[in-house]
Symmetry: C2
Subunit: 149 residues, 2 copies
């Protein structure tokens, strides 16, 4: 049996790695339905000056080319933004596990409406991590989600 | 005055560049509202074995970090898929110019519903380019839009 919290641990580790690099602490990982890791990654806006690398897109890239995503699970520390929600919908990723959606809510309800299995864990460590980051670096956070000044 | 067809020419050049590289011929470019080029790019799934690089995400990356996208125009040879439509919505890109949506329709109507200025040009050269590619390499095309076998 797949334990969602165990899968989240990998995404959380990625977020913490990003934080230690001076980046925005959001991590993600793509697994198959047996719980095998396919790819993991984290937001690299600051580290690479690359606005296109969100945690989910980084994990998706790390998993390489695939012909079928229906059997995969995208695990992310934070509710996926519209960009990352669009990724999940377009590629038919079957399930999404969300660490928390208190500090930000993207498109996970929209994904559920379109048949994606969505689980929101409301994980206290994920909430704490983003709450601190947003309080300390609001300008970076707003930049990362496209909120203009 | 900004002529949509002139902006499309840059995206089309990118698509043709991708085709010559052996890739999927979709190109895009991000401009400001005065028509200044901010970034251009093309799909690199084949070239880099990277499923995360669609034309629009490549152009977005090439434009670098920005604090405000409301004044920008995303020009793409093909209707943006949900992944790329989500990018436009999340970052508040103000306008989208689509070369064609005959061979594929993604989320451009959804973007229009959410306040994005959307123009579909129905450009014959863009239609011809994708029609040929899809006929010649259907497996690559289906892979790129997440259609499983």
């Amino acid at each position: 049996m797949i334990i969602a919290e165990q899968l989240l641990a990998t995404a959380y580790d990625e977020a913490q790695l990003g934080l230690r690099e001076g980046g925005i602490p959001i991590g993600a990982a793509l697994f198959d339905s047996a719980g095998n890791l396919l790819g993991r990654g984290h937001n690299r806006r600051i580290q690479h000056d690359d606005p296109s690398v969100h945690a989910e897109t980084d994990a998706f890239r790390a998993a390489g080319r695939r012909r079928d995503y229906r059997d995969t699970i995208m695990v992310t520390t934070l509710s996926p933004c519209w960009y990352c929600s669009g990724l999940v919908r377009q590629f038919g990723i079957g399930a999404v596990i969300v660490g928390e959606s208190r500090t930000f809510t993207g498109g996970h309800d929209w994904l559920a409406e379109h048949g994606v299995s969505v689980t929101v864990l409301d994980d206290p460590a994920c909430v704490d991590m983003m709450t601190r980051f947003i309080a300390e670096r609001p300008e970076l956070w707003n930049e990362d989600i496209g909120v203009a000044e």
